[in-house]
Symmetry: C2
DNA sequence: TATTGTTATACTCTATAACTATA
DNA sequence: TATAGTTATAGAGTATAACAATA
């Protein structure tokens, strides 16, 4: 009866990564770009600086992500009204529509759960996920305590 | 009272990714390499082919991962006794010790939960994770049903 | 002098396609 | 002819460091 929970964790992590990008919309947005759009949708037009902070990622990285999203037409760069060093990134019409749809699907999924699904499948998933959840708690707990008590 | 669950999902996913590699050992193993070591520890010496299947990743990718782990001294390539096309990958002494320790930590973590942690922190995490868990269930459920009922 | 975004450079993970050596 | 592993090529995501323009 070895735990094998790490395996499940790895599987669920992979699944999550896929879902975060694939699930919510039909366009070919990657997870990182989806995340940026999501933040932009929440924050409104902001500087790349602000995005770097929001995504907890280097400014250099934002340059690349915005480049990609600009090329695909989801965001646009604009001038900052007062600070000429800064760039304001905002959602285009396409970007806006994409995020509205994503938010809709998100909400629908939250209120309309397991509809067309075999009961056996649900059981199976619940069992796996309970184990994973247990593991999640421990991992997060340990992470929390580690960042609070260690200082190397 | 917007859900904001996607944010939590994103955060937890990122956290998981980190934990999977960082948590379990002090060496600088990446998630993908850790995963390969984990499988190798379970399966024993196997061909790169078998690893590609186990990790669900292209053979080309295995070449790269094994290259890295060979350079860091965690695995070694050896000849296959009967098939001269194939390569047998096995854990070195270092790799073996690393995985034994990782399995130990894994077990310890499973049986010795929230030890040195503020109670308030636990509450906070539990609350977040319950929401995330709810979300996980829906995502996995939808994923399941999608792969069973759609055929595009 | 400090900050914003960029270029330069580099590493990891991933993929497909073509090729070599063997089955 | 099919399989195991490699090289070639490519793209995404990430990082640090140096630099230009601006505060």
């Amino acid at each position: 009866m070895e735990p094998r929970v790490l395996d499940q964790l790895l599987a669920v992590t992979a699944l999550l990564q896929q879902d975060l990008s694939r699930f919510f919309e039909g366009t070919q947005l990657t997870p990182a770009r989806t995340h940026l759009l999501w933040e932009l949708h929440r924050l409104g037009s902001v500087t790349q600086q602000a995005l770097a902070v929001a995504l907890q990622v280097s400014p250099r990285n934002i340059t690349g992500l915005v480049d990609g999203l600009e090329a695909s037409g989801h965001v646009a760069r604009g001038e900052h009204p007062t600070d000429r060093r800064a760039t304001l990134v905002s959602l285009t019409g396409l970007g806006e529509r994409t995020m509205v749809k994503m938010a809709e699907d998100h909400r629908k999924l939250s209120t309309d759960p397991v509809s067309d699904l075999e009961p056996g499948d649900v059981d199976h998933m619940e069992r796996n996920l309970d184990a994973v959840m247990q593991r999640l708690r421990l991992l997060v707990a340990a992470d929390h305590s580690a960042s609070g008590s260690e200082e190397s």
